[in-house]
Symmetry: C2
Subunit: 190 residues, 2 copies
DNA sequence: TCAACCTAGTCAACAAGTTGAGTATGCGAG
DNA sequence: CTCGCATACTCAACTTGTTGACTAGGTTGA
């Protein structure tokens, strides 16, 4: 029920097509609300039917037409009601951690390779987020930004993503060290 | 498809009932694989049908009977195959972050209250994880533990949970400060 | 010039996750 | 003596999320 709210929170930045929303999600919202483009298109249709967003078709040359969605008054109200509600605890699903939990009786080398991939991925995320942060700050210091910006919400969620990925990088490094030593021990035992 | 694998990774610790698995998940696996007890019971039935786990009924006095599940050889193989596979990127869904993103046009006070609740919850998690860690170490130093333990996987996933929740506490504190200041600014503007 | 990728979607089928209720007993605190 | 919590589940209905295939023109690089 709350992909809707994530979409509406993104539309606070102004009207957007389903395609652009998908990219925006991928770039920054994915950190706390993952979804596929298909989910977005389906949900946008439902939201339009429920009067939370309004769509207008923009005809384009040399490109397929697109539908731009914007928040309606009802949408803003709904979103506001959501912010006042009780929220479910966060749900995380991470296959890599499942594999690490089973690493001792599984394919140790493959798990180490997976952690290395994850680490590189997290490092790339950190860089992206830092670029996004610099863009949001727009040359101002954080203090200046917080004192003058209209919205601080997206900045705070970005900070959460940033420290989450930094933490990921640290954990990957630590785990690799531990598993490396374990591998050496097991080799010595044979 | 990989709740199965999370269940099997847990069963590496020995046979367990659906009810106990639910508690184990709630206590430590929930950190990277949330699920409801109903999901577990359903999945265990399917896993039994697929020959990944074996069940035996234990009749109890003064208590309902229970079915204890244990990994079969096929289950161990499947799990090992999983550790060698490519893993999907982690999926996170956190309503609180959605609310924070929309806080600027929503109910600021309610969002602050939600962050405070989350912070207390995260602090409680940190304590639980620290107790679990002490229990795993069993008086040994981390170094001793890593050198002698049969399994290091569950320890590594526990470390991930621990630093995730510590990070949560920090982020909650920081966000509250920022939103507090913003509230003061908006009050001054009226 | 051919392949690959970008824009901007749609449709259908299936898998997974959530919610609420129901069953039955035992134990301890107030 | 009753209320609530713990044990140990089951069933059914519903909502979400995932996967793969399809359309169709435009741009970029080898």
């Amino acid at each position: 029920m709350s992909l809707r709210n994530a979409v509406m929170a993104t539309l606070l930045d102004g009207e957007s097509s389903g395609y652009d929303l998908a990219k925006a999600f991928d770039a920054s919202v994915a950190n706390f609300w993952m979804c596929t483009p298909q989910q977005l298109y389906r949900e946008l249709d439902r939201m339009e039917a429920d009067g939370l967003v309004a769509a207008r078709v923009v005809e384009q040359e040399r490109r397929p037409n697109k539908r731009l969605f914007s928040l309606t008054g009802k949408g803003v109200e709904e979103l506001s009601r959501f912010t006042a509600a009780q929220h479910k605890p966060a749900a995380i699903r991470d296959e890599l951690l499942v594999a690490v939990m089973a690493a001792d009786s599984g394919d140790l080398e493959a798990v180490k390779a997976s952690i290395t991939r994850r680490r590189r991925w997290a490092e790339a995320k950190v860089e992206r987020y830092e670029r996004l942060r610099a863009k949001l700050l727009g040359g101002r210091t954080e203090e200046e930004f917080l004192a003058t910006a209209e919205r601080v919400g997206p900045y705070l969620t970005l900070l959460r993503g940033l420290s989450f990925e930094r933490d990921n990088v640290r954990w990957c490094a630590r785990s690799l060290t531990v598993l490396e030593r374990r591998g050496a021990r097991l080799d010595a035992a044979t």
